[in-house]
């Protein structure tokens, strides 16, 4: 689902999941904090960091925890942001990101995918994509984050995922956004890896297969003594 309805639906799923895993005390804290933010929006500046000190940090839904998965504190923080009046939200996101520690920054980035927000996504996602913390990069590359990247930025983002050993099967990228330039860039990277006798992640090949660059694939087949079988598209 795209647009506002999708965002809201994802937020409801998040709230339900959080309710399941929090202890009674923690749920109580959460409910109080949301009410406080609703009544006094400025309070989020103190409650957002506090959530990290008070609430546990565990996988929200899946185990084992990966860079792609929500944690309990991230979910709680997203719901605090949802309690803000819409007019205050973008500015709060900017400030909380600017002054956030790594956990708060990933919470802000993930929250962009479950809240109605304005242009702040376009400011924060490129910033996060310049970091070397895989958790921040994965948090930035939600459906909402991917939507603000142009074709060139998207190629760089996907390459970065591969460099950081992030699991590409978890990237919520619609197939139609895989342009020839991306297939080529990933095939080139595969050639580099194979030439260096290093492995290539399986998840890379569907991206290459979308617009298979035949010259690069031919070069790949010519590399001697490959260390692992390379899955290539039929021509």
């Amino acid at each position: 689902m795209t647009g506002t309805a999708g965002v809201e639906a994802r937020r409801h799923v998040l709230a339900d999941a959080l309710r399941e895993v929090l202890s009674e005390d923690d749920r109580h804290w959460q409910v109080e904090a949301i009410a406080t933010v609703g009544a006094d929006p400025a309070a989020i500046m103190r409650l957002f960091p506090a959530a990290g000190r008070v609430l546990p940090r565990r996988a929200l839904v899946e185990e084992p925890l990966t860079a792609w998965s929500w944690t309990t504190d991230e979910a709680a923080r997203a719901l605090l942001l949802a309690a803000l009046p819409a007019a205050r939200r973008d500015q709060a996101l900017r400030e909380l990101y600017r002054y956030g520690d790594r956990y708060e920054r990933s919470a802000v980035l993930r929250a962009l995918d479950v809240l109605p927000v304005g242009t702040v996504t376009q400011e924060l996602v490129p910033d996060a994509l310049r970091t070397n913390d895989p958790r921040l990069v994965a948090a930035a590359l939600s459906a909402t984050g991917l939507a603000v990247l142009d074709e060139r930025e998207l190629v760089q983002a996907v390459l970065k995922c591969v460099f950081m050993d992030l699991d590409l099967t978890r990237l919520p990228l619609p197939e139609e956004r895989i342009a020839p330039q991306m297939s080529r860039a990933l095939a080139d990277y595969a050639l580099e890896r194979v030439t260096a006798r290093r492995s290539v992640p399986d998840a890379l090949w569907p991206f290459v297969q979308r617009h298979p660059p035949h010259d690069v694939l031919a070069a790949l087949r010519r590399v001697p003594q490959r260390t692992d079988p390379v899955e290539e598209p039929a021509e």
Partner: protein, 293 residues
């Protein structure tokens, strides 16, 4: 293997080789206090970015080697003397003192014992009380005895309970007064200067192990991030029991910084290993982390 918690070590200037060596030597947890960069900062933005790095990139780096990184934050004594920046930095500091990985206000104290340093020291002690955090006090390297006496006076005036205060960089001449005050006594062990592990062993033999902390500082002078481990070895050679070594190198830092209420320790029943990246970092379990892109 001895489990080690380095209570005062500057990692932002250290290489990944250092982290690897520290992890192999048994360092599982550390506290990195905010300090100067070797030359003066010229804008509050530099401080903001530095605080952010102690809460962002540096703990991530540490995590890659199975080391849990916490920090102390403050306006350091040297830069307390900058009239242009002082108020702006102190105004932004409270935003950072509320972060979950900040377990202490520090390094505060004296560099040259100026009136500006007096004022900033006292203001930050008040911030520590307000944020319910313990304090790390840097004692000056020049005129150390006088600086320590004065630091203890300021601490006493502030009303902070002494057990919430660590007076650091002690030597044989300051240890007695610091311990008598009820504060914790920290010792920075260096290769050539200041305090070395043999002298440290003699200090421990004289004063005991209670409220004693040993660190490698690893700051701008010639330093060695493995000095904690080497001090532990020297203690063992001198006849201290393994329990004493564990007390000084692990349980004491845990007790001191635990007063913050924020010290969440990794599972230390698992011995440090090559795969410590997973054990030390539940958050990246299941995904092989690689530094750099």
């Amino acid at each position: 293997m001895t489990r080690i918690f380095d209570p005062h070590i500057h990692m932002s200037s250290r290489t990944t080789d250092d982290y690897e060596a520290m992890a192999a030597a048994g360092v599982a947890v550390l506290v990195e206090p905010a300090f100067w960069l070797g030359q003066p900062r010229t804008s509050v933005g530099s401080f903001v970015d530095y605080f952010a790095s102690l809460l962002g990139w540096e703990p991530f780096r540490a995590e890659q080697f199975g080391v849990a990184h916490f920090c102390a934050l403050a306006l350091n004594p040297k830069e307390a003397n900058d009239p242009g920046l002082r108020d702006d930095v102190l105004a932004v500091l409270p935003r950072y003192l509320v972060k979950e990985r900040v377990v202490c206000v520090g390094e505060v104290g004296y560099d040259s014992m100026t009136p500006a340093e007096d004022e900033v020291f006292a203001r930050q002690l008040r911030l520590a009380v307000e944020h319910e955090l313990p304090v790390m006090v840097h004692t000056p390297h020049r005129d150390k005895v006088a600086g320590t006496v004065r630091s203890l006076d300021v601490v006493r005036e502030s009303g902070i309970p002494p057990e919430r205060v660590l007076i650091d960089h002690n030597n044989e001449l300051t240890a007695r007064m610091v311990l008598d005050s009820g504060c914790w006594a920290g010792f920075s062990i260096y290769p050539d200067t200041k305090m070395d592990e043999q002298r440290m062993v003699r200090v421990l033999q004289e004063f005991g192990v209670e409220r004693m902390l040993v660190n490698s500082a690893a700051d701008w002078g010639r330093s060695d991030p493995l000095k904690t481990a080497k001090t532990g070895a020297a203690m063992a050679d001198a006849g201290f029991l393994a329990d004493d070594v564990d007390r000084v190198l692990w349980r004491n830092p845990v007790a001191f910084y635990g007063q913050s209420g924020r010290l969440q320790l990794p599972d230390t029943t698992v011995p440090p290993a090559a795969e410590a990246t997973y054990e030390g970092s539940s958050i990246l379990r299941g995904e092989r982390p690689r530094p750099g892109a």
